[in-house]
Symmetry: D2
Subunit: 406 residues, 4 copies
Amino acid sequence: MAQNVSKVVLAFSGGLDTSVILKWLKETYGCEVVTFTADLGQGEELEPARRKAELMGVRPEHIFIDDLREEFVRDYVFPMMRANALYEGLYLLGTSIARPLIAKRQIEIARQVGADAVSHGATGKGNDQVRFELGYYALAPDIKVIAPWREWDLTSRTKLIEYAEAHQIPVPRDKRGEAPFSTDANLLHTSSEGKVLEDPWQEVPDYVYSRTDHLEAAPDQADYITIDFERGDAVAVDGEGLSPAALLAKLNDLGRTHAIGRLDLVENRFVGMKSRGMYETPGGTILHAAHRAIEGITLDRGAAHLKDELMPRYAELIYNGFWFSPEREMLQAAIDHSQQKVSGTVRLKLYKGGAHIVGRKSPNSLYSEKVVTFEDDQGAYDQRDAEGFIKLNALRLRLLARREAR
Amino acid sequence: MAQNVSKVVLAFSGGLDTSVILKWLKETYGCEVVTFTADLGQGEELEPARRKAELMGVRPEHIFIDDLREEFVRDYVFPMMRANALYEGLYLLGTSIARPLIAKRQIEIARQVGADAVSHGATGKGNDQVRFELGYYALAPDIKVIAPWREWDLTSRTKLIEYAEAHQIPVPRDKRGEAPFSTDANLLHTSSEGKVLEDPWQEVPDYVYSRTDHLEAAPDQADYITIDFERGDAVAVDGEGLSPAALLAKLNDLGRTHAIGRLDLVENRFVGMKSRGMYETPGGTILHAAHRAIEGITLDRGAAHLKDELMPRYAELIYNGFWFSPEREMLQAAIDHSQQKVSGTVRLKLYKGGAHIVGRKSPNSLYSEKVVTFEDDQGAYDQRDAEGFIKLNALRLRLLARREAR
Amino acid sequence: MAQNVSKVVLAFSGGLDTSVILKWLKETYGCEVVTFTADLGQGEELEPARRKAELMGVRPEHIFIDDLREEFVRDYVFPMMRANALYEGLYLLGTSIARPLIAKRQIEIARQVGADAVSHGATGKGNDQVRFELGYYALAPDIKVIAPWREWDLTSRTKLIEYAEAHQIPVPRDKRGEAPFSTDANLLHTSSEGKVLEDPWQEVPDYVYSRTDHLEAAPDQADYITIDFERGDAVAVDGEGLSPAALLAKLNDLGRTHAIGRLDLVENRFVGMKSRGMYETPGGTILHAAHRAIEGITLDRGAAHLKDELMPRYAELIYNGFWFSPEREMLQAAIDHSQQKVSGTVRLKLYKGGAHIVGRKSPNSLYSEKVVTFEDDQGAYDQRDAEGFIKLNALRLRLLARREAR
Amino acid sequence: MAQNVSKVVLAFSGGLDTSVILKWLKETYGCEVVTFTADLGQGEELEPARRKAELMGVRPEHIFIDDLREEFVRDYVFPMMRANALYEGLYLLGTSIARPLIAKRQIEIARQVGADAVSHGATGKGNDQVRFELGYYALAPDIKVIAPWREWDLTSRTKLIEYAEAHQIPVPRDKRGEAPFSTDANLLHTSSEGKVLEDPWQEVPDYVYSRTDHLEAAPDQADYITIDFERGDAVAVDGEGLSPAALLAKLNDLGRTHAIGRLDLVENRFVGMKSRGMYETPGGTILHAAHRAIEGITLDRGAAHLKDELMPRYAELIYNGFWFSPEREMLQAAIDHSQQKVSGTVRLKLYKGGAHIVGRKSPNSLYSEKVVTFEDDQGAYDQRDAEGFIKLNALRLRLLARREAR
């Protein structure tokens, strides 16, 4: 297991776990450690991570702290939103979609500093290890990958804290006990799982929610908003043009207020087990609903139904960590091709956990009042065509029925 | 067009339109008319339809009034719910699923009374004409089908009312003017479309809703309920065993109170145009969420993902009127096969338009706390297996990346 | 039916049927007729069509004769070959793929000459009417379409010939009787159907074949050939670079000699009936086999399997006439994305009706002898990874089995 | 790795490799070994395996020799044939389909003799280890699995032979050198791979073929045969009713004579690499073609196209070893549902490597000469229906085109 490693790029949050990993990598591999801390909108200060790394002896030129929020939303979240991606019908893939970007940046840094290995703090039971490592291998096939949680013997929190104390790693008071659940956060969502959430019959306790206000505490007055789309991507809220990250942040604020985007789910992990998670995706939930609505008037049925049939596969690929795969890219090519005219404005009512579509309009609308109207349509549609349409669609069914009757 | 017809079975609501059709059929075809009125839970008295038919000269033995509510929910709604069917990601298919049952019963009656034709009151622009007629042809390939709206020249409401008055058909006062929208209702849903709904940018007016109380008027206190499932079908609410129709009615009551199941949608009709509809599916929306949740713990990933991939096709078949088709039956066979262990209990919180899953349990649960736990799992899962799993999943991606680097 | 038409572009072969149509259009609609005759490699002289049109009074500037062979193969046949498209598992879509090009050119000519209508000679039972007309409407939504076979009363060959004679249209001697079958030909294939082929239990008579030599008469000596591919398209045969049409013609010659590409098929038409056809696709059959083989070493599994799953839908779209549809274009975008590295050389043995792959090589090969070898692979693959791979793939199956055992 | 094992059921061919494994299991685990040798139609005597086992000290009651040919064809090959399964468009899955049956029988024996482990002789790079072990785990989730090729250090043939000689295991003369390729055989096919086949550009040498006569040596005279089907399964050849295994054997004889069913393929293994194999599936190739042909006249288009779309996934599941999975069973349920009327007779011409369909008939035929005929069909089909059919199919395309023109 202990391969020969000289320099490793570690995805480093600055928290207790990745601090222990930092130390453990040095001890175990005798290698130099390069830390990489990304701002994906998780809502934490990054400078403490820099100081922590410095304190632990990482050379300043080996400390990388990047604000990836715009890239994250523009190149990862938005392409996925174009697909209306939902894993197992419900999950907006907030964690899954962040991993490939982190992996990509780690590999870029590894190339820049001449590192021969990368490392992450994901456990051996989860999906994230797969997502990180498939990303690494897809971009740098010969990189060495170190997954401490699969290698070391710090198999309990007690051991981890003992290791930290033995190595002068400060242990915050609130980390001394077992955390009641674990979380992952970025601009798209916060996920929570484990411990108090492990019994899927028990309701998620109130204190687990961090990104949305409580349903009952949400305002009694609805908010009405509009979202403008251009070629499948949201570009403005209430008429105000915003960058991708700013737009998602804006929708997150709105979603937080109205308690939108909570999801209590038992899902199927790629590694073969079921797990129960709680997700909060306030802005993403609004965006998802709005994107479907703008597609409703601008996307042809053939394109829309093909998208719907491809979507579960596409979502599964992202969930399983195959963002950097030929088949995800093929599906993306198909999806993106469909979005050329997906422009216009959607109006939503936000209220007590719900993002309700109440209107949509577009210069590219395919909806034709003239054709669909109950009133006289002045020849836009000849009702007698329907007879032939039905007759030929029925022909094979009639031949079947005649066989039955034979 | 005017084929030789001697006896026709008409799907007869007793309303103005089908009354005019009844008369028109007699006038146009000189044929005997048999009326069929079904109780699908639309919430209207049926006896007035009988009296209306009698008044219009239909022979008593030619008036058929059937309570099909249990058959409707048990043999149509529930099988569809097993599939988690949503048309275009959102629509629970409330109108679509009722049509095949009506068609089937019409054909049975036609056989019983020796009729050679069937007729319905669906217009020439909609999906329902297709659903009715594909049903007729699939069950009786040589039946004659009369679709008055595609044949006659009563192309405006004024002409229709003139015809009614000329033929002593009573015109209710509220039918004199143009209805502001048109509706279809059954135990699963009420749909509304046309007129005031035709501009998809305009919010659906309050007065259009009939099956759900207004969002803002819903109770400030949530209700918690449980639904029990057996082999994929709901069998009890709050522990009380109920027949299919009674159960759906119970959920409808709960959904009405909490304003659950409203949907404002621009959808793609089978006949090629987009239309804007408003749907209220209170109980069905609760049921759909609950069924996904019980599957969450009882259905294997392979089965669940296959179901998700097949679902859009399945929903499209029902929407398009292909209930009685070999391919719908094939998909149903696959879906039903998956439901053998889908038993257990789901707990939901109903609040202000939302049906939120808060718990699920099952004697057949595949969720294993022992495997998934963050704690020591005592060997239930070997984290080192993950390395090999990732390595082999990555192999093809690495070979690709090496090719890129060549 | 008889709309107001002033100028119509007719797809005109110069044969008896389209000559009658030419006359009938003038008579029926009192309109000017523009003829369009395309060389798609059907192997017939086109100049006689010009003379025929002139004789029938078409103005010289209204006679269009175009050699579309290169465009046909490059922009229609090759994109379809990239998809490995087979309708119902077997049919290489030789007729289907030609129709959209003819439709497109007719619309271009209509725009050029200011015509308000187009017309074709396809019958009312076949797929071709659908393919032509969907093409017309997709490119010129308000064009008038005249389908004489659905409109006129020349419902038997006798009547057709009577009409021809009454209007001074020369009737070739061999057209006086009923043809024993009907054919369609282009550079990709010849199809035959009808009459002597209508009993699907009867073997196709020898005289029906026109594009391939008889199986038993094929050489006793095999030919070995190579085909070079670049980005998914064939570019050379036996090392000789050829244009798309020249390459397909070359493969047709080879296929003819070796009796390759015959297919006796009962297929399902879009209009709802089954028909029996005989197809000869000599070069296309070779190309299809070769393309799969070059993909075998250059295409990643994920891409290849996704293509295989999408293919039936793609083929169905082409068969049904939806070439110019958003969903066909979406699928094409996905397929084309996959072909970037599909370059290399395939070697085939042609013998007695078979096109057997015997070798393939590529600078982009993903096949790695080093990885796959039975010999010592020097660490290219760690067999122990397989254990973890299997264990995690098995995990959900084990959880299922434990449930069964409960 | 060396788990505590007391009794292991070994899939034992009696050849050198599994004899070495037998010994190695005893030596390494100190356990009792139970041998299981199956007759799947591989064409080898089984009694020598018994003697070999006895000689190596296996107790007589621990030697299991079963003729599984009928079960193999009836319960594995035939269900797969109903699906028209082809992996990667070409491979008839001859090896893949045998593995689950062997695994199932091993588990049955393990239960019978009270064994706690099973073992097989598949290598660590191939698919078969996966297929065996997924089968084991799906049927006995807590069974111990021993895969010697992944565990031991006999990593070259030289070491294997040294081990054999050191342990008094007889080494046949022809096994002393390296075999030029490795094979697997059963009633459905023989596969060959490795060594001389590892360069995919080199033609497969003549001496590799064992199940089919050379193409050029095949008779100059074609054979015509008929195959009768009942509910999707072949039941008779040339009118003679045969059991599943006897029928496949009969077709194998015919296929051998006419050199039918050879396939040179580069395929994608589940473990992530490409490999080149040569397959001979003489009877299976004939059966596959014939099954498609009988479906051609008896299966509705909707069912047929759904089958075609599901097939690649179904084939992939079998290839990857997921025979005993809920999703394979779901697909099987759908497929089997479609086969109820797939009965009738197919006529084929066998000639020089080709199995050409020349006729098909069925009491359940959906092919209607009356409907499809070019002649007057006496009202069986109204050509004017086609206009409405096309118009409504075109409607969305026209709306799209009008948008383009805006």
